[in-house]
Amino acid sequence: MRLLRLYPPAWRARYGEEMLALLEQHRLTMRTRIDLLRGALDAQLHQRSPVMSRNRRPSMRWSLLVALLPSTFVVVHWAVQLFPFPDDSTLWNALVVLGMMVAALAATWSGSRAHRMGGRLRDSAVAGGLVGMAALLIAWIVSWGLTIAALAGVYAWAADLQGGSGHITFSFGPYLAQVWPEVLLGAAEFAAVGCLAGTVLGLAGGWLGRGAGGGWLRSGATRGPINAKRRTGYDGVPS
């Protein structure tokens, strides 16, 4: 049953076999398939060993929060532009490099964590790919949001504060109509690059998490005592 593959690995380890046994007796209709899709989405969103116990931190939410970090560098760079330093190009380059390093670490960490939650290498690749894609997409969206905000007058307001003069009259509609192909194309490129790089890094994280090297990563991805229940991703009611 292919739809069961959409459930988190820990869920499948706990409920997969009995669900399969049930589905063999059940008439599969379109409604059943849609219900399984909703169930998989629900399990992915609420997976805490396997879905809703109280002890496991929601890893997907954590990963996305980490993925947000690169966008903070875009914000910092924007602030730097508002109040320019004598030479901000070095600072900008440093910020970009730092942002990409954080994104790379986030993707690797997610891959390792996916493995520690009972996933296979494929799950690590998916986790890393998602985080990489989210990181670059968020950075792209924040970057464009700040550009539009600056054009809408925020920059002029800040210039006024510094003793400058003049306002920019800005009309959002015509501007967006002009630049949307560039925005969409850029978003697609960022998403593709982030996904590809994240997948590779997620695989690396999963490999490191297996104990092939990287104990530091393993301990970082699963802080606290590691026991058999954590390994299987199930620490709810004993089976």
Binding site: W11, Y15, E17, E18, M19, L20, A21, L22, L23, Q25, H26, R31, T32, D35, L36, L37, R38, G39, A40, D42, A43, P50, V51, M52, S53, R54, G236, V237, S239
Partner: protein
């Protein structure tokens, strides 16, 4: 008299899963059952067909709260049983429902009806 509903042990906390959870608890009140038997039982006493995705979303939540517990597997199937806290939650919910039902019925009776003609 205001109705006191338990806060921490309330089925309503389960959101969209609260009604399916009630059906599962009611089904297990009869005795341990595995997933397919629950679905058949619910179809029989409620008339609604519960789909597997919803059923296992409910089972995971009820199990995490300790309201049901799994029994050893029988082949590939795993039966579940209602626990004492689960029975208490079910009892509390049924009491509230019973009160709503009797109040509604009473108010719908001709002599007690306040509905506009």
């Amino acid at each position: 008299m205001p109705i006191q509903r338990p806060r921490t042990n309330d089925l309503a906390d389960l959101g969209r899963f609260s009604e399916p959870a009630l059906l599962v608890l009611a089904s297990l009140a009869e005795g341990p059952k595995h997933g397919y038997a629950m679905m058949q039982d619910i179809l029989e006493f409620h008339g609604a067909r519960m789909e597997p995705g919803t059923l296992y979303g409910v089972l995971a939540r009820l199990e995490a709260r300790g309201w049901i517990s799994p029994l050893p597997t029988e082949g590939r199937r795993r039966p579940y049983r209602l626990t004492a806290p689960g029975a208490a939650v079910l009892q509390a919910h049924l009491t509230v429902m019973q009160r709503v039902v009797s109040t509604g019925r009473h108010r719908l009776e001709p002599h007690g009806s306040r509905a506009a003609p």
